[in-house]
């Protein structure tokens, strides 16, 4: 088995799921003949035809809304947002319609909304966003944000098979930068389960997506100083894996939360609050956050790199926690 990229892993999951279940279909802008802006869906239309790989108008409301309607009838649509930044165009449909459907009307919405997310790519304010905080606040949606190629494949399969709507964020910085050999067989990663990306005993970093890799780099560096850093890759943001969070807090008693998304009202705030409620007495230091600054993400490299979390920031924060 040869190694494949994070992007190819997602594509492989789409192929396998469409082959496994004829109810699975894809819709989105430029995903068919063109294969998608990042070529995630390349080859899908050639294999499965125009009826199951639908090129849509530029209409995020219609893409998400039509997916919901088809999902009510037993189909399993996978929607692509060309860039996840455009998910906000369908925000009403996701939050008011899809997220409430099962609860208010017992209408199932087994559907996936996926798209390239995240920065470090000089994409500017509308091609670099991390939208998770907006949807973390919406009961009825699930969210995953894989950091590895095998998780990308396994979580995509789980998302397509889930009975509810799953938002699947793909980090575009990772698309072609990381490679991995896929596990054999029908590889499904359960939604809601975090992963220990690196074992450690002194300080815990809780993170997800691209900053998992920056946290691992920081941990390498800190090991040379004699600090043992544990890195937790959340993988799923809704539901959050409280058990894994609690376990690492009890193990190291010092917690740093790292995310690429902006700071205020971000996922880190929610995790901090949960730790404070569940395990305040287990803490030996205040919980720290390394996040983006609260600004729209700028384009120019010196600006973008200043705003987004970097490995050196993580190293600095872990040292501060260790010294506390």
């Amino acid at each position: 088995m040869s190694e494949i990229t994070y992007l190819e892993a997602i594509r492989e999951a789409l192929f396998e799921e469409m082959e496994r279940d004829e109810n699975v279909f894809c819709l989105g802008e430029d995903i068919g003949a063109y294969g998608g802006a990042f070529k995630v869906t390349e080859g899908l239309q050639a294999k499965f035809g125009e009826a199951r790989v639908i090129d849509t108008p530029i209409s995020e409301i219609a893409i998400i809304g039509a997916a919901a309607g088809a999902a009510h009838m037993g189909m399993r649509p996978v929607c692509e947002m060309q860039f996840i930044d455009f998910i906000s165009c369908g925000y009403d449909m996701l939050t008011n319609y899809v997220a409430t459907a099962r609860y208010r009307a017992m209408l199932p919405c087994p559907m996936v909304v996926r798209g390239p997310s995240g920065g470090y790519v000089r994409g500017g304010p509308f091609h670099s966003q991390n939208p998770e905080a907006a949807f973390l606040h919406t009961p009825g949606l699930k969210m995953v944000y894989p950091a590895t190629a095998s998780d990308a494949k396994g979580l995509m399969k789980a998302a397509i098979r889930d009975e509810d709507c799953v938002l699947f964020f793909e980090h575009k910085y990772l698309y072609r930068r990381i490679k991995e050999t896929m596990p054999e067989g029908d590889h499904v990663v359960p939604i809601g389960k975090a992963r220990v990306a690196r074992e450690g005993t002194d300080v815990s970093i809780i993170t997800y997506a691209a900053t998992v890799w920056k946290s691992l780099e920081a941990a390498e560096e800190l090991e040379k100083e004699g600090l043992s850093v544990e890195v937790i890759d959340l993988r799923s943001l809704a539901p959050l894996d409280d058990e894994a969070i609690l376990a690492t807090v009890k193990k190291t008693n010092r917690v740093l939360i790292v995310h690429e998304d902006t700071r205020t009202g971000g996922v880190a705030g929610e995790i901090t609050s949960r730790i404070s409620e569940m395990a305040f007495e287990w803490l030996d230091a205040p919980i720290l956050r390394v996040t983006a600054a609260d600004v729209p993400l700028p384009y120019s490299p010196p600006l973008e790199d200043y705003v987004l979390p970097q490995t050196a920031d993580i190293v600095k924060a872990v040292r501060r926690l260790a010294e506390y």
């Binding site: 309607g69 009403d92 009307a105």
Partner: protein
């Protein structure tokens, strides 16, 4: 009146020969009368219950619009599994599809055994088996959803048609535009019914759109349109039936504009101070859809008034029975609020301060309005 879209090279050939109202039997016409009468009388019962504060939330009337709701829904084929998505003034459409008065009453009274188990208000509920989808309050959103429902019909080669209702106001939304455009491109078997009742809450049509007529919007999507007098139940049926037949024959989306008039406010609290003097009275006196249909039935079709009287009595008996059942129904168990957000997990855990607590308060206040009272 059918109007073809003018898109070049478009093959929007009418499927079957457009049927005339003559194909409806007298029994079917009496059934139309039954549904219109049931709609009106059920809403009148709801007004009584609202005034007794037994209806907890807002009350939405379709007074004067019963014909457009009933006549259009009647054009669907319930034996084929057609599905409609109603709007707030489509109680009549839902009754045609098999919604029951007791369900409507339980919904309005927020009962635990209402179709949404007390989670949603009024006629916001659905049943895919009987063929209606629960709407949400964000106007226009059901157009993309029904585009998806009918896309699934097409993908699976099913002989089914969908119908979605919007008001004049919803034609201004982005969701309407995106949904109808998507459905048109995909040639979904969908009928988009635009009920033009003159007002969106307080906003008249002249402030809603600069379009000469709402049916004109069909041109921009390359789809045919129909227009009918929505207060004439037979004309409504006929125009909508043409659209349904076209959809079933593979002709794609049709926009059907039904012209009617909203004689009550947006909801029961609305005193309609924005309506020009005499306008409501004029419609009530000279263009009531039930009065008009009674005239057709008794004058043109020589139906004896006693036949209609018997239907009226049957309607009242059904509503009385449904009211008794709904009033006797229990309110929901408070902690049921935590059930069913996801398939997995099936329910949320109670927050720590609610553990071991059955009800959050001893008496649930039932305000007489939402604070929007201006009567």
């Amino acid at each position: 009146m059918t109007q073809q879209g003018t898109a070049q090279g478009q093959d929007t050939a009418d499927g079957a020969q457009a049927p005339g109202v003559s194909e409806l039997t007298l029994d079917q016409k009496l059934e139309l009368y039954y549904y219109m009468r049931l709609t009106r009388s059920l809403e009148e019962r709801l007004v009584n219950l609202y005034r007794q504060t037994k209806v907890v939330g807002g009350l939405f009337r379709s007074l004067g619009q019963e014909a457009d709701a009933v006549g259009s829904a009647y054009a669907l084929d319930r034996t084929k599994g057609d599905i409609l998505s109603p709007l707030i003034r489509n109680l009549g459409s839902m009754l045609v599809q098999g919604a029951r008065p007791d369900e409507i009453l339980r919904q309005y009274m927020a009962k635990g055994d209402s179709p949404t188990r007390g989670r949603e208000l009024n006629i916001h509920y659905g049943d895919l088996v009987r063929g209606f989808v629960g709407q949400i309050s964000q106007l226009g959103d059901m157009v993309p959803v029904m585009a998806g429902v009918t896309l699934s019909f097409r993908m699976r080669g099913e002989d089914r048609v969908g119908m979605v209702y919007v008001g004049d106001g919803a034609t201004s939304t982005g969701a309407f535009h995106e949904g109808i455009n998507f459905a048109a491109v995909q040639r979904c078997p969908l009928v988009v019914v635009v009920e033009n009742n003159g007002y969106a809450y307080s906003t008249p049509l002249s402030k809603q759109t600069a379009a000469r007529e709402l049916r004109d919007k069909a041109l921009g999507y390359g789809i045919p349109s129909e227009q009918a007098d929505g207060n004439d139940v037979l004309a409504t049926y006929e125009a909508t039936k043409r659209a349904v037949d076209r959809a079933r024959a593979g002709g794609g989306v049709t926009l059907v504009e039904l012209i009617t008039y909203r004689r009550k406010g947006h909801a029961e609290h609305d005193n309609q101070s924005y309506v020009p003097a005499g306008e409501i009275e004029k419609w009530a006196a000279s263009n009531d859809p039930i009065d008009r249909f009674v005239t057709v039935l008794t004058m043109d079709l020589k139906v004896d008034v006693s036949v209609l009287g018997a239907i009226d009595e049957r309607v009242m008996a059904e509503i009385d029975r449904a009211t008794d059942e709904a009033e006797a129904s229990p309110m929901p168990e408070p902690a049921d609020a935590l059930v069913g957000i996801y398939a997995d997990p099936p329910e949320e855990k109670p927050l720590w301060f609610r553990e071991g607590v059955r009800a959050a308060v001893e008496v649930n206040e039932r305000p007489s309005s939402w604070g929007t009272h201006d009567v």
